[in-house]
């Protein structure tokens, strides 16, 4: 009942005789319909009600100009009063019917939504991908991702923080003088840190390989250079090499060899990935979604990449 009274507040602006009369009509109808529209079950948003009311006032107010004239002379035209009342009743009745229909629509939509959500949960449990990215953006849910992936993102955040701390530490240490032993231990820690990242990625790849392959946790700039879930080791080498001055001839030779073998390994893996995409596309076209069969391949590829990057780190270590 509270809801009905608040809706009529704006109506007073119209300052017609109608709404006041209608209030009586509405309240009466609500009382009559009693159990149907208990406050708890009414889901209609405020606006809709106001709109329907304003609709009704416009319906009932069609003859408003005339009514103003007759305000003073109601006693003289009882039949006009009757006509007006009848129109009101009719309008109110129509309004009630419209409201009933709308509520029913809402109820069925609600049930449908519940069913869909249940289906979605079931499908997800069975391991089908229902367009993860599309869902998250379209429906605005962030908990559509599996808990494992959410955990990975959190872990990655921590990893980056730790990484920054280690880099700062290394920088300050390099400016000062520090024993070789200390330096070595710092580098060892950095290496361990990277291996930790590889383990995280590997675990995440087992949960959602596409997520890792598309580098969803990375910045858009990082994703530009994406190759099997990370940077190309050869690119990393290219970036790092100028900073390695001075290098002994032997070191230089080693790095060049590493660059070349890296390139070759990458080419081989890239072609393997292309073949994987073709095979996958073919199976999809043929109607077989053999997800289980290629996921292990992906994780293998991931491990490969990690080994490649670890070699890069070893070069870094040498320098």
């Amino acid at each position: 009942m509270n809801t009905t009274s608040t809706h009529f507040v704006p109506q007073r602006r119209f300052e017609t005789y109608e709404p006041l009369n209608q209030i009586g009509m509405w309240e009466e109808s609500f009382k009559n319909n009693g159990g149907l529209y208990t406050p708890g079950s009414i889901i209609i948003p405020t606006n809709e009600k106001t709109d329907s009311l304003s609709e009704d006032t416009s319906h009932g107010a069609e003859g408003t100009p005339h009514k103003f004239d007759q305000e003073a002379s109601t006693s003289r035209h009882p039949d006009k009063i009757q006509r007006r009342l009848a129109q009101n009743r009719e309008a109110a009745r129509k309004s009630r019917l419209r409201k009933k229909a709308y509520v029913q629509q809402l109820e069925t939509s609600r049930l449908k939504l519940i069913h869909l959500e249940q289906e979605l949960d079931r499908a997800r449990q069975q391991g089908f991908y229902v367009g993860n990215g599309v869902e998250s953006s379209a429906l605005g849910f962030s908990d559509n991702m599996s808990s494992g992936i959410v955990a990975f993102e959190m872990e990655y955040g921590h990893w980056v923080e730790e990484q920054n701390r280690q880099i700062c530490e290394l920088r300050t240490v390099l400016h000062g003088h520090v024993s070789d032993i200390e330096l070595r231990s710092l580098v060892e820690n950095a290496m361990k840190h990277y291996f930790q990242l590889f383990r995280m990625k590997s675990t995440a790849a087992k949960i959602d390989v596409f997520y890792v392959m598309s580098g969803m946790w990375k910045t858009s700039a990082e994703r530009f250079f994406l190759w099997i879930g990370g940077f190309r080791p050869s690119e990393l080498l290219k970036v790092l090499l100028p900073h390695f001055d001075p290098l002994t001839d032997q070191q230089l030779l080693d790095v060049c060899n590493l660059k070349q073998s890296c390139q070759q390994a990458e080419d081989a893996l890239s072609q393997g990935m292309e073949k994987l995409q073709h095979t996958l596309a073919e199976s999809v076209a043929a109607g077989r979604l053999g997800e289980g069969s290629y996921t292990p391949q992906m994780t293998c590829a991931m491990e490969r990449l990690e080994a490649l990057v670890s070699f890069v780190n070893q070069v870094r270590k040498k320098a």
């Binding site: 073998s261 990935m273 490969r304």
Partner: protein, 102 residues
Amino acid sequence: MDKVVRMSSEKGVVIFSKSSCCLSYAVQVLFQDLGVHPTIHEIDKDVECREIEKALMRLGCSTPVPAIFVGGKLIGSTNEVMSLHLSGSLVPLVKPFQANLC
């Protein structure tokens, strides 16, 4: 398994693969880049595929394919081959089997 032993002891680089395996394909590409022409046995085209798989696993491969043998000796799977290559040890290993590129 005799068949596997026989096939793997063939001269040069021998790769056991499957036509559907993409990592096998990657390994093949790598060897070709190095100028080696490996002998490739696609075991999924073989009737005794299952036995071959088991035999390869028993020999120590974590995954049956790809399994790479050089000069009769088992090198391992993709991981091992790539690691060797990155450390620079693969090329000397296959040098005797490199085709002379004109």
